[in-house]
Symmetry: C2
Subunit: 268 residues, 2 copies
């Protein structure tokens, strides 16, 4: 069974579209885990224990794990998420030439899906696509302010670049294995993308710390049953004091996001 | 002294524009290093010993070092290259939102420069640019076949996307700290880029295994005194048998590339 089929099962079983971004910055971890052998893993374990009930997926961002200890913590984290039945998306945003992309594709050995950057084109993502049981999320219209610098440029045919990326990525699917990353901060762009690639599952970051528009993305975006709304810092660092109750605060924040999405789905 | 000033000094001192890509795939290492504690580090040490005389810079591609042992080998490699007076470019092709980009920017602690992907725009590269003593190479027109998929798209103003990237990157420079990655496989595109960003040092991959046009890039591309022509597999795996003379073969290949560039410079 492919990634998106597994993800849909998970979404249906727990009735939640929440993706929790494990951006577990070693410099921001609570004191309660500071003395552990692998503090990031200890932190993630407690976050997963507290939030798995609401988590359709976990999404660790590779930026926070590119140290020897970080990679060890990441491996433990992926295994532990799987033990709770939760798929894992590696937020790696990779994209390199074929020979190198194949090396990066090994990052998928443990994980269920990966995010990729489309700028280098087809051969840079092919090694990820070749693993048809895995999911590939293509960066399309991101949630940051700089997204407009290139992604919003208008092409000669009148389309914005991100729409061309959506069409390109749509054609990349070798099975039900390609999704798109579209920032929840960009509801108008989301509508355009839905016109180009109506059947691609979306990963929607930018809710929470980045201030995305949840109502707009649930209305326009949810069409495939496999959409994910990602929140990272607003969940895992929900307790800004980093006190001993950090996991309980994360649990409350994850549940709150799940419920907010449910309410919007019921209304739409 | 900033990165490009240091690089120019190195280029001038050894009269070489050769950048050696340390794409030291653990699956391709010669038997002679297989029993070392960190085979990648042992391999790189011997490659550096054999080639430093011709190396204006080394460029390890992060794809081959994203394991605990790989990161340890990379750290040793960077320190050893520095001990020989050779700057190191991390070929990481990173680009992520501000919070995450700052985490990636720590990859620069040891290295002298990094490659970044422009697709996510200004805030995704700002944390790299803020370290003005370090170099930032922006992917502009890459050397792979898929480069045409997005980079060659024509914008409404008639320019190709890669030219817009060159202009954007040119404006990103906060000091003499921004260069461009332009494939040696794309001499026509290089000419366009030189019209947009005449003063940006170039990193020119794609010579060797990818079949780039050395004569064309030396003619059009060399203007700042800090250009680098990169070759990876054609140097480090110059001995395809992986025999005990692998380092001598790498040395011969590096010298040969240095000499070929010198000849073309003399002619142009």
């Amino acid at each position: 069974m492919g990634y998106f089929a597994r993800l849909r099962e998970r979404v249906d079983r727990i009735d939640s579209h929440v993706c929790i971004g494990l951006d577990s910055d070693p410099r921001r971890l609570p004191d309660a885990v500071a003395d552990a052998e692998l503090p990031q893993w200890q932190f993630n374990r407690r976050i997963i224990d507290a939030t798995a009930e609401f988590a359709a997926a976990y999404k660790p961002n590779m930026a926070f794990y590119e140290t020897p200890d970080g990679l060890a913590a990441l491996t433990e984290t992926v295994g532990y998420a799987h033990a709770q039945g939760v798929p894992v998306i590696l937020d790696a945003k990779r994209g390199d030439i074929g020979n190198t992309a194949r090396a990066y594709a090994r990052l998928l050995d443990d994980a269920d899906a990966i995010t990729v950057n489309p700028y280098m084109g087809t051969d840079s993502v092919a090694p990820f696509l070749n693993r048809t049981d895995k999911g590939v999320y293509v960066l399309c219209r991101t949630s940051n302010s700089g997204a407009a610098d290139l992604q919003d440029r208008t092409l000669r045919d009148g389309r914005p670049l991100y729409a061309a990326v959506a069409a390109l990525a749509d054609g990349w699917a070798t099975a039900d294995n390609v999704g798109l990353v579209v920032g929840a901060t960009a509801p108008d762009e989301l509508e355009t993308i839905r016109g180009v690639a109506p059947d691609r599952p979306l990963l929607l970051p930018g809710v929470g710390a980045q201030g995305g528009d949840l109502a707009a993305v649930v209305g326009d975006g949810f069409r495939t049953g496999a959409e994910l709304v990602n929140s990272s810092r607003s969940i895992i660092f929900a307790d800004p004091t980093g006190g001993p109750e950090f996991a309980a605060a994360a649990r409350a924040a994850a549940r709150s996001l799940r419920d907010a999405i449910r309410r919007l789905q019921a209304e739409s």
